[in-house]
């Protein structure tokens, strides 16, 4: 399992690298006329490409972040390995649900 998690975290990082750059660039671009819900929705609603972009973003974060959290808890806490795995899984679920909900809300 450790090898699978190692590979999953590295591969998700490779995917997240360009996505984060585009996301940051988009933030700079999006606020040029002030930031409003209407302006965001006008750009994203009905856009398949943005839904794919942020859908992939959410999936990558769902894989990447909980593995990192698991590593941190293993090193810095005295929580049992089983509990750490459950906490990491819960965080994965939270990221997935909140992320996909946010994506569904804007497209």
């Amino acid at each position: 399992m450790e090898r699978t998690l190692f590979l999953a975290q590295r591969i998700s990082a490779i995917i997240l690298g360009p996505l984060v750059l585009v996301h940051l660039g988009l933030i700079l671009f999006a606020v040029r006329n002030g930031l409003s819900g209407a302006e965001i929705l006008s750009r994203t609603q009905g856009s398949i490409s943005w839904s794919v972009f942020y859908g992939l973003f959410v999936l990558s974060v769902t894989v990447h972040a909980p593995i990192g959290l698991r590593n941190i808890l293993q090193e810095w806490s005295r929580i049992s390995p089983l509990t750490i795995n459950i906490v990491a899984l819960l965080f994965a679920l939270i990221f997935l649900l909140l992320g996909l909900r946010a994506v569904a809300a804007i497209v």
Partner: protein, 243 residues
């Protein structure tokens, strides 16, 4: 004149006495030319503190027995000259970090030795004594990779220097993983895949943060960081081919 002056100077040596709940005890030792840390400890034990416990064997940097923490850094004491590490004539000598303390400067090395087993380190050959010796091309990439990590003397300096070991006692550590890397590159080893699976198992090479403390402190200048990076590459690219 200069030599005479130096011999009249004294070193202030603070030595750890006791187990985990021990304390540093200060001794005064004459400063001499070409004095190693092991010389200092021996002088204290012979002439001032007969009960002082410490380990050594070869005294020439081969056996890996005499590693201790000197002024905060793990070092092989038989090859560490006082003038290289003392700060204004003061030395602080403690047992290695990350290992259970037995008495004074002696640690229990069992957890460190166990990591070698956990890293899949035992060699198992494919041939019997009736077969001809395996032909290993010294110029092949696998042999050169193995050669780079073979000379480890098991001193536990890297294990003591590693912050990841201090955070996660389940981590195999640099020496065990370095050993696994040499076996994975040994074409005579019968189960390189098994060794890799163990080296990448629970507490395996995936836990390494690539700080490089192991490489920085290795007294014989091996590069366990590079060996661990090699193991990580195997996760992506598969076992190294004999080229």
């Amino acid at each position: 004149m200069n030599k005479i002056k130096r011999e009249t100077q004294e070193l202030t040596v603070r030595v750890w006495r006791g187990k985990e709940d021990g304390k540093l005890v200060t001794y005064q030792v004459m400063s001499r030319e070409n004095q190693t840390i092991l010389d200092i400890i021996t002088e204290i034990q012979r002439f001032q503190e007969p009960g002082l416990a410490y380990r050594f064997a070869c005294r020439v940097g081969v056996c890996g027995s005499c590693a201790m923490t000197v002024n905060g850094r793990p070092r092989w004491t038989c090859r560490t000259h006082v003038k290289k590490v003392s700060h204004e004539g003061v030395l602080t000598i403690e047992p290695l970090r990350n290992l259970p303390r037995i008495k004074d400067l002696v640690c229990d090395l069992a957890p460190f030795i166990d990591t070698w087993q956990r890293a899949g380190a035992p060699f198992s050959g494919t041939k019997t004594r009736n077969d001809a010796p395996a032909l290993v091309d010294p110029e092949s990439s696998t042999r050169r990779a193995a050669e780079a990590g073979l000379q480890c003397i098991n001193c536990a300096v890297c294990y003591s220097a590693c912050d990841v070991v201090s955070w996660n006692r389940n981590y195999i550590g640099p020496a065990g993983l370095n050993r696994a890397w040499t076996l994975i590159n040994d074409i005579r080893h019968s189960d390189r895949k098994q060794t890799f699976d163990q080296a990448f198992g629970d507490g395996g090479c995936g836990s390494c943060h690539s700080h490089g403390n192991c490489t920085r402190h290795c007294p014989i200048e091996l590069n366990p960081s590079e060996s661990i990076a090699g193991l990580k590459r195997v996760a992506f690219k598969g076992l190294p081919k004999d080229v």
